[in-house]
């Protein structure tokens, strides 16, 4: 069997993106289970140093394409290199971050290689499959698991006959784990000109404004999150007030973001950030599966909801049946009076 590959995204600051390190951690486990090697590909300008960031995650081979024309990211040159390398190496599995780069690049690569691609997976597992019609058996396929259809179903997707099996995963879904601080793999420097064409550079970047990451909801220990049920911007302010008092970050469900109650960068769930804080306070969130996919690993969950039957109550440790506008001020008041 061939190897597992991870496309390592390089951040604005020249480091390997968090999501890529998380995927290397997952990729290491998948490679181990399959008894194959883990390989990574990093594309950018002046990025020789990233090997030090990548090898501790258990990478056996790191392919580096280093050229001044390869940063900032542009679709066509990155796609040409990735496609060319994969045609040579025939990977078994490839993982991309479900970022604005990964979601731009991966489909282009999948189309060229005529292979399957599953977006926004929330779990990846190795498993077998028997084709119901033909009885044909497949060993060690990648199960690509994701919510689908408005989150009413969880689908397990497989690619029985085509390789590589490709998936994108959002930041925070997989756990980042150093494999061994001293792990050393092999660096393969790619001859970029062997992969690139003149026409790969037709799209010009005229201007960029990339802001440093302002919010760090993902690593927050406590999150106060609001849903559509919070109702008004005034009520939403109560969430900020509570968060301020107890030292939490404010998150939101997609419904709240769509209703304009919160910014997109606060969105938690399948199409937002995935979090696993020690305490998650869900205010007026009904708990669609996409939202739960982004927070159900929280150590403790409190749900504040007027609806006793809200789906989120079933995964909550504490359920407060009541109005957010009534409950939050009481929590703030108690904390102010009783904390040191």
């Amino acid at each position: 069997m061939n190897n597992v590959f991870v496309y390592c995204e390089i951040s604005e600051e020249g480091h390997v993106a968090e999501v890529s390190l998380e995927l290397l951690s997952k990729g290491r486990k998948l490679a181990h289970e399959l008894g194959v090697k883990l390989e990574a590909i990093a594309i950018g300008s002046k990025i020789q140093h990233v090997s030090q960031e990548i090898f501790p995650f258990g990478v056996d081979v790191l392919h580096i394409a280093d050229d001044s024309r390869l940063s900032p990211y542009r679709t066509l040159p990155h796609a040409s290199i990735v496609i060319g390398l994969f045609q040579e190496k025939q990977p078994e599995i490839v993982l991309f971050g479900a970022t604005s780069i990964g979601r731009d690049l991966a489909p282009r690569v999948a189309s060229a290689l005529r292979c399957g691609l599953t977006a926004d997976c929330t779990a990846l597992e190795i498993g077998d499959h028997t084709e119901p019609k033909t009885g044909k058996e497949y060993k060690n396929l990648l199960y690509q698991i994701r919510p689908a259809f408005g989150g009413n179903i969880i689908a397990t997707i497989i690619n029985p006959d085509t390789r590589p099996q490709m998936a994108t995963v959002r930041e925070g879904v997989m756990k980042k784990e150093i494999f061994s601080p001293d792990y050393i793999g092999v660096v393969e420097k790619l001859d970029v000109n062997a992969y690139l064409k003149e026409t790969d550079f037709v799209v010009e970047i005229l201007e960029r404004h990339i802001e440093p990451q302002k919010l760090n909801i993902k690593n927050a220990q406590i999150i106060v999150a609001g849903g559509y049920g919070v109702g008004t911007p005034e009520n939403f302010k109560l969430l900020y007030e509570l968060a301020d008092v107890i030292g939490a970050q404010v998150g939101a469900s997609r419904a709240a973001v769509d209703a304009g109650l919160a910014d997109h960068e606060r969105q938690i769930g399948q199409t937002g950030v995935t979090v696993r804080p020690k305490l998650y306070i869900a205010c007026g969130i009904s708990g669609a599966v996409q939202h739960r996919a982004g927070m159900d690993q929280s150590a403790q969950i409190i749900s504040i909801n007027k609806d006793p039957n809200a789906p989120i109550n079933q995964i909550a440790d504490y359920v407060i049946i009541g109005d957010v506008a009534e409950v939050l001020p009481k929590m703030i008041k108690y904390y102010k009076q009783n904390s040191k």
Binding site: T75, E204, D258, L279, V319, I321, V327
Partner: protein, 290 residues
């Protein structure tokens, strides 16, 4: 030479408003319970296409949709808002297509409209949220791609300048034509229907719809050919059937699980002062907060 803008649009079940009857007892999706709508980001794409048309004399906007017969509804809707013509890619043999097979079929349809300068679509459809069909269609057509377009900054017959919305900022890019653009939901909303266009296009019909009509459209269509929404089948596209439908889709659904929540032992409280105070005390004493 005309300046041709091709818009890819999809009719989708409105997964944003899923009611309790959305799932059948056997765990499959009850499509009948979900209203079919114009995919939201495809409307943003249509608006960007119409703005291009506003800027280039003689430009035309052609809508292509792939789906069942009823998807003609969104082609008419696009016409009411300013699209000039429409095509419906429809055939039972397309059923079960994943994004790769879908982009193959769409690429063949778009090829029939050559020469075009712009191919434009929403970033993603709300029934799948994959954002894959745009880039995959671009790859099959050998076009450069501009994803997550937020604003059209300038367009002429050779180049387009677009501002893209990224996770942590924006980027302005310039591409020669033809190019494939996918439009982000933060782009300007689509203009509403225009009453004159509704009058002009209310009789637009697909070939299949015409066969079901009781009145005779022959003369009307002869005078106003734009009212005919042509249908393209697998045969019309000269598509290879092993690249379509389930057979042409590398991704297979192994299993669908209806979402059943794991029940936790939850403690149910009221909004009373006593209950809230008890909970806060519990959280503070167990060092979860404070």
């Amino acid at each position: 030479m005309t300046f041709r803008i091709v818009v890819l649009a999809k009719q989708v079940p409105d997964t944003r408003n899923v009611g309790k009857d959305a799932m059948k007892a056997d765990g499959t999706v009850n499509r009948a319970a979900l209203p079919a709508i114009f995919n939201p980001e495809d409307l943003n794409a249509l608006e960007m296409a119409l703005r291009m048309k506003d800027n280039i004399a003689g430009a035309e906007v052609i809508v292509v949709s792939m789906g069942p017969g009823r998807a003609a509804e969104i082609i008419r809707e696009a016409m009411y808002r300013g699209a000039d013509r429409g095509y419906l890619v429809t055939d039972r043999k397309f059923a079960g297509s994943d994004t790769l097979a879908t982009s193959y079929a769409l690429s063949l349809a778009v090829k029939k409209l050559e020469p075009y300068q712009i191919l434009i679509a929403g970033r993603q459809a709300i029934d799948g949220d994959t954002a894959q069909v745009g880039p995959q269609t671009a790859e099959k057509l050998g076009l450069p791609q501009i994803t997550y377009a937020e604003e059209l900054l300038s367009i002429d017959k050779q180049n387009v300048i677009i501002r893209r919305r990224l996770e942590r900022g924006v980027e302005t890019v310039k591409s020669p034509l033809p190019v494939c653009i996918t439009v982000h939901g933060s782009a300007p909303a689509c203009r509403p229907r225009n009453a004159k266009l509704v009058m002009k296009y209310k009789h637009a019909r697909t070939t299949t719809e015409l066969q079901e009509e009781t009145r005779d459209y022959t003369e009307l269509l002869h005078e106003r050919p734009w009212l005919h929404i042509q249908e393209w089948s697998v045969e019309d596209l000269k598509a290879e059937t092993d690249k379509l439908g389930l057979a042409g889709s590398p991704t297979k659904v192994k299993k669908i699980d209806n979402v059943v929540l794991q029940h936790k032992e939850s403690k149910v409280l009221t909004a009373s002062d006593n209950d809230i105070d008890w909970l806060m005390k519990e959280l503070i004493s167990s060092h979860i907060i404070g």
